[in-house]
């Protein structure tokens, strides 16, 4: 489903964000990307939704060679993906319903499909009763759920989440992770870049650890820190 082969990314300012990264993610997997700030987690996600182009290497997303993709084909790629950010990126002058519908409307979806699909995803994220509210009237967790609904409304096969719990308290963070887990159970491939140790340790999913732009470890059922469970701390 997702494949990075020997991928490097050097930004124009000379910063080496990724260094010969190799990574395969199968359809329906749930993967955590962890690592300190600046280790390349967000850069890796940006490469997947073609916000950036690799300096070298091959990237394939759902059969599409992203590294070779021409600019006018990027919209087609992004319709295969849903992207969720730490800061939600909601439009403050649109209601929850309008924010979610917006993602379908701007891709030319038929109104009949919009009317059918939007209530369905709002129901999935538990916001059907708040569909007429504006983002400013919602809690952080609810705003993030709105953003997830928007990311899901076009039925993407892959959901990329960049620090989805970064702005949330632990309870709301846990709720969001449970929601992502439910979405994953329905068959969507989910990739989450996070610093949230507690959810990573609790969920025990595949953990890919980045260090200085390289894949340091890749564990099938890992913890946030290598070999450590929840409640344990690094000594020294």
């Amino acid at each position: 489903m997702l494949s990075l082969r020997n991928v490097s990314l050097v930004y124009p300012n000379g910063v080496h964000a990724l260094d010969h990264v190799n990574l395969e993610i199968a359809k329906g997997e749930f993967v955590f990307l962890v690592g300190d700030s600046g280790t390349g987690k967000s850069s890796l996600l940006r490469l997947l939704y073609r916000e950036a182009r690799p300096t070298s290497g091959e990237i394939t997303v759902d059969g599409i060679r992203v590294d070779r993709l021409r600019r006018n084909r990027v919209p087609a790629l992004r319709r295969h993906l849903g992207v969720v950010f730490q800061d939600f990126k909601l439009l403050v002058d649109k209601t929850v319903w309008e924010n979610v519908a917006f993602a379908m409307q701007v891709t030319g979806a038929h109104t009949r499909d919009v009317m059918r699909q939007v209530p369905r995803v709002l129901d999935l994220v538990g916001l059907a009763h708040k569909s007429r509210m504006y983002p400013g009237e919602l809690s952080g967790g609810e705003q993030q759920r709105s953003a997830i609904a928007r990311a899901l409304v076009n039925n993407p096969k892959i959901l990329l989440c960049d620090e989805p719990t970064g702005n949330l308290d632990p309870d709301n963070g846990n709720e969001i992770m449970e929601l992502l887990s439910r979405i994953n159970l329905k068959g969507t491939t989910v990739v989450v870049a996070t610093h949230n140790q507690s959810v990573v340790d609790r969920m025990r999913r595949r953990v890919v650890r980045l260090q200085e732009g390289r894949v340091a470890t890749d564990e099938e059922r890992g913890y946030y820190y290598l070999g450590l469970g929840q409640g344990q701390v690094l000594s020294g």
């Binding site: 006018n72 990027v74 992004r78 990126k89 439009l91 891709t107 038929h110 109104t111 009317m115």
Partner: protein, 293 residues
């Protein structure tokens, strides 16, 4: 037809248009002023071209018939000249009529009785169909045997034709200048609305909206700026046509402005095309720059 899509699209355009009302008023006002200036210029140019055309139309080629030519030869010459497809009319003025006309015109200025006999030759007065053909027609007549001298005010014709040419060139330059000024202002307005909506645009890009779809509301916004500005300008020009033009005609009696005809409908259509095109081109460029970054 998916009316929901149409409603959403028009809603986005209207939302854009009303969100930066101050800037829209500025853009529309500037377009209106530019189009008023352009309209005035087109009006003046049409008036000058009309007057120049009238003057050129009055230019007559005067060809004298050689003194030894018989009446039959003169008639043959007249037919020969009239056969030229560039010639509109040929008038034969016998020397007796010419002399009588001259005496009448010079009455009170010169005592023509002091001039012995009739010094004038028979003359053929020729009108060309198009003013710019006058020199060529005159040269052709001059080559005919039986023709003496040919006059048509060569330097005046050349000057008038040059004036017309200069007016056309200056006109194109001035219109291009107005086009650029209005375009830059609309582009800046659109750029501000693009900046105000950059978050929305980034989300559109993120969910897979095509650049065309992102661009379309801004293009409509620019078009609306151009058309509304032009509408205001046409109203102002229309009022000026009704109130100021008659006074101008009355004040400048020595210039036959009254006889100048304007294709008003075409002129208004041209202004709307210019206004709309400026809006579209300017907004296309303004959004394009943002989408590339």
């Amino acid at each position: 037809m998916d009316w929901g899509k149409v409603k959403f699209f028009l809603g986005e355009v209207l939302r854009n248009f009303t969100r930066n009302a101050g800037m829209q008023v500025t853009a529309i006002g500037t377009v209106a002023i530019t189009i008023v200036l352009l309209g005035t210029f087109l009006f003046v140019r049409a008036a000058l071209a009309g007057l120049g055309g009238q003057l050129l139309d009055q230019i007559t080629i005067s060809a004298t018939v050689a003194g030894n030519a018989s009446a039959a030869q003169t008639i043959a010459l007249r037919r020969l000249i009239a056969a030229d497809p560039r010639v509109a009319s040929v008038e034969y003025v016998p020397k007796e009529k010419g002399w009588a006309d001259l005496q009448r015109r010079l009455r009170g200025q010169i005592d023509t009785s002091l001039i012995p006999g009739n010094p004038l030759p028979d003359v053929l007065r020729v009108h060309a169909k198009h003013p710019e053909q006058v020199p060529a027609v005159a040269a052709n007549i001059g080559r005919l045997s039986g023709i003496g001298t040919v006059r048509y005010g060569h330097s005046e014709v050349v000057r008038l034709l040059q004036l017309g040419d200069v007016l056309r060139r200056v006109g194109v330059g001035v219109i291009a200048l107005f086009f650029c000024v209005a375009g830059i202002i609309i582009a800046n307005t659109i750029r501000l609305t693009v900046f105000a909506r950059r978050r929305e645009i980034s989300i559109m890009q993120l969910v897979g909206a095509t650049n065309f779809y992102i661009r379309a509301p801004f293009i409509c916004e620019g078009l609306l700026d151009g058309l509304v500005g032009t509408l205001l300008a046409v109203v102002v020009l229309g009022v000026a046509r009704v109130t100021i033009w008659p006074k101008l005609v009355a004040a400048l009696l020595f210039i036959p402005l009254n006889s100048v005809s304007f294709e008003l409908g075409r002129m208004v259509a041209e202004l709307f095309v210019v206004g709309g095109a400026v809006g579209i081109v300017a907004s296309w460029i303004a959004v394009g720059r943002h989408l590339r970054t």
